[in-house]
């Protein structure tokens, strides 16, 4: 048989088999059983009402294998269960059946952030974030993250640097027939930004306790409500309120080597802003996506008309596109563009190192918005393009369920003003990474060369 004919036969057979699987599974025997009762076994934490909301079949209906399978897949999709098995048992009389769902609940408390780092100004800092994805068994999310640095280097009596964030999120609330989302978050932060004239504070020769700085506190929160226009979309609107207090601390020799303060009002001020977010995520999964896109557009509008002290707007668009490649490999394309207009406080501007794998020079990606480096340059314009190549390594480990190697490169542009340049070190717009990503029952982990370069080199 010639090869093309064989290939055609193979394709036809496969297509036939896949087509059958994709369409309704044909029952070998015609039967019309009525579901007398739906029994949910094995639920320890999850409420039965939450499970029943996601079923595609109901008591009193004819038993339909396809609806049972859809229900099972939907329940698995929630992430609350590691196994969902279904079976049918005899009902109270002939023609009636009991449909049984047997659940094995999974751990829904995961490590969302784990921060370890070291810099000259902060020899050791760390943090931990935990997220409960099925809070109260109702599918609610409750999360908290703490990053702690302690007093800055050479200033043991100074207050500790820390950031604490808590968030509550209800991703699937039905109100008056509308699919809504609701969120509430709170932030408490005490940080410092160096105000040396040189981003590396070189004149102080590593003795950072003598360097001038801005100490600031933030405390506030954000309330978010939104709609789910489609299964892959969210449209959110929110209001943010923060009390900010900032104090300039001169260096050991006042006036020497002191640069401009980061953009912020001295003393106590109020940030009051409206936020809007459109988020569309069609990726087939989060850990190792091989298909789909993610688009997130975020707009912040801060105004004195809202009772605040800052008049500004901030726009950030982030894109991701995932593609399957031969041999199970994957390609991720990334992009981001942002702009800030007006009198935005520095922490509402873009810190370029946040968007790079690593940075040449003193800048270091922030941890929960805390900057532990000497570089306090925040920019008003940002553009990023990147690509990441993923090579799956294994997919059936016991604790490390899955793992893949990621090789990435990013190009990053940022500027404080339109067409404004940066120092030679920070102007180098490329960064790369080699990382091992691990999927575990307690979260996804990222062992990254880029991070190590940034934090320990």
């Amino acid at each position: 048989m010639p090869a093309p004919a064989l290939a055609a036969m193979v394709v036809a057979l496969l297509a036939s088999a896949q087509g059958d699987a994709a369409n309704e599974p044909s029952s070998p025997v015609t039967r019309r059983y009525v579901i007398e009762r739906i029994q949910l076994d094995g639920l320890m934490r999850t409420r039965t009402s939450e499970v029943r909301r996601h079923l595609s079949t109901a008591e009193g209906e004819l038993l339909d294998d396809k609806s049972v399978l859809l229900s099972r897949l939907r329940l698995l999709q929630l992430g609350w269960f590691s196994r969902v098995e279904t079976r049918v048992e005899k009902g109270s009389e002939r023609g009636l059946v009991v449909l049984v769902f047997d659940f094995t609940e999974r751990n829904t408390l995961i490590v969302s952030d784990l921060v370890i780092g070291s810099t000259g100004p902060q020899p050791l800092y760390g943090g931990l974030g935990l997220s409960e994805g099925n809070f109260l068994g109702r599918g609610l999310s409750l999360s908290g993250t703490l990053v702690y640095g302690g007093p800055p280097a050479d200033r043991p009596l100074d207050p500790a640097r820390f950031a604490l964030r808590g968030a509550f999120f209800a991703p699937d609330v039905t109100f008056a027939g509308l699919p809504l989302v609701f969120g509430l978050s709170a932030l408490g932060l005490r940080g410092e930004e160096f105000t040396c004239s040189d981003p590396e504070c070189r004149p102080f020769r590593g003795h950072y306790g003598d360097a001038p700085r801005l100490r600031y506190d933030r405390i506030g929160g954000e309330l978010t409500v939104g709609l789910r226009p489609g299964p892959f979309e969210r449209l959110l609107a929110g209001y943010r309120l923060e009390r900010v207090s900032a104090t300039s601390i001169p260096g050991a020799t006042p006036g020497v080597d002191t640069g401009p303060l980061p953009s912020i009002r001295a003393g106590s001020s109020l940030l009051s802003a409206l936020t809007a977010t459109y988020d569309r995520d069609t990726r087939n999964e989060l850990f190792f996506p091989t298909d789909g896109t993610r688009l997130a557009l975020n707009i912040v509008f801060g105004s004195q008309a809202l009772g605040g002290d800052y008049e500004y707007s901030r726009y950030l668009l982030q894109l991701e596109s995932d593609h399957a490649l031969p041999h199970g490999h994957a390609l991720k394309l990334l992009g981001a563009a942002g702009a800030v207009q007006g009198d935005a406080p520095f922490f509402e501007r873009f810190y370029p190192a946040d968007f790079a794998y690593f940075s040449l020079g003193p800048a270091l990606g922030r941890a929960l918005e805390l900057n532990f480096s000497t570089d306090a340059r925040y920019d008003a314009y940002l553009a990023m393009l990147g690509a990441e190549y993923g090579v799956p390594l294994w997919s059936s480990g016991r604790f490390f369920h899955r793992g893949y190697l990621a090789i990435g490169a990013r190009w990053l542009f940022s500027a404080a003003r339109a067409r404004a340049g940066r120092t030679p070190a920070s102007r180098t717009p490329f960064s790369g990474d080699l990382a091992l990503r691990l999927d575990t029952p307690v979260g996804s982990f990222n062992v990254s060369m880029g991070y190590a370069l940034d934090n320990f080199l």
Binding site: M1, L6, V10, L13, A17, S26, S27, P28, V29, R31, Y33, D65, L73, R74, L76, Q77, G79, T86, R87, V88, V97, I110, V111, D113, L114, S118, T119, G120, G129, G144, T145, P171, S185, H207, E222, P231, F232, R280, D281, T282, R283, E285, L286, F287, R314, Q318, D354, P362, L393, W394, S396, G403, L436, G443, F445, V447, Y451, N455, F456, L457
Partner: protein
């Protein structure tokens, strides 16, 4: 007041950390290489029937007795069997045989109803079994599967590869059940990324559904046209 003599970069740590990370990456990648499943071998006979190549397989290892609970669940279970003839050192099949078996246990009749679709009966033929061991024997039997003309073997070395899937879930069906219900990370606000050394991928609720499809892959020992026995 003391001045630290070392440079800023040294103050941020040593150059050994990236090397350690690289070593750890390499070790983990190497250990992962051993975790791939190695295809098993099925009892099989490859023979010539006239000018055609026929293979007989005993699929029993793919249908252990413990499968009874699954196949007796009162819902339709789909078993897809694909047998391919592939060059020993390549992946592209030269011939393929496909069979789909739907098994439905009737909880009131207490019988296994079976529908088989294969090249001999593409529209399906039905059988009924009263006992699981009868069903199992039927499922395990794959006799005289036609894998094309022997002349196609040429002088190369070939293997028969068998893939058996229990309840494969189509991509289309999975797509229908997906929803964007991931929760936003507590760490990042307004899209600003937060740098974490390890856990950097929160928002974990949107997890690819693993419907638990059971897949068995078998691979025969290599053979050549000369070694195929004539019947």
């Amino acid at each position: 007041m003391t001045l630290r003599p070392q440079s800023f970069r040294r103050a941020r740590g040593g150059a050994r950390a990236p090397l350690l990370v690289a070593a750890a990456l390499g070790a983990l990648a190497a250990s992962a290489a051993f975790s791939h499943d190695v295809p098993r071998t099925l009892p099989s006979t490859v023979e010539a029937r006239g000018a055609r190549l026929a293979v007989t397989l005993d699929l029993a290892p793919a249908f252990p007795p413990g499968l009874q609970k699954q196949l007796s669940n009162g819902l339709t279970n789909v078993i897809a069997v694909h047998v391919t003839l592939v060059p020993e050192r390549a992946q592209e099949p030269a011939a393929l045989y496909g069979r789909e078996v739907d098994v439905l246990y009737d909880v009131w009749e207490e019988t296994f109803g079976v529908t088989v679709k294969d090249p001999a009966s593409p529209r399906g033929r039905q059988r009924t079994f009263r006992r699981f061991d009868e069903l199992r024997a039927f499922l395990a039997d794959a006799s005289a599967i036609d894998l094309g003309p022997i002349s196609e073997l040429g002088g190369g070395s070939w293997v028969v590869q068998t893939r058996i899937e229990l309840n494969p879930v189509s991509r289309e069906l999975l797509e229908r059940t997906r929803e964007f219900i991931a929760n936003p990370s507590a760490a990042g606000r307004s899209g600003a990324p937060s740098r974490s050394v390890l856990g950097a991928m929160a928002s974990y609720l949107l997890k690819g559904a693993d419907p638990g499809a059971d897949v068995h892959v078998f691979r025969s020992p290599p053979f050549t046209a000369r070694e195929v026995a004539a019947r």
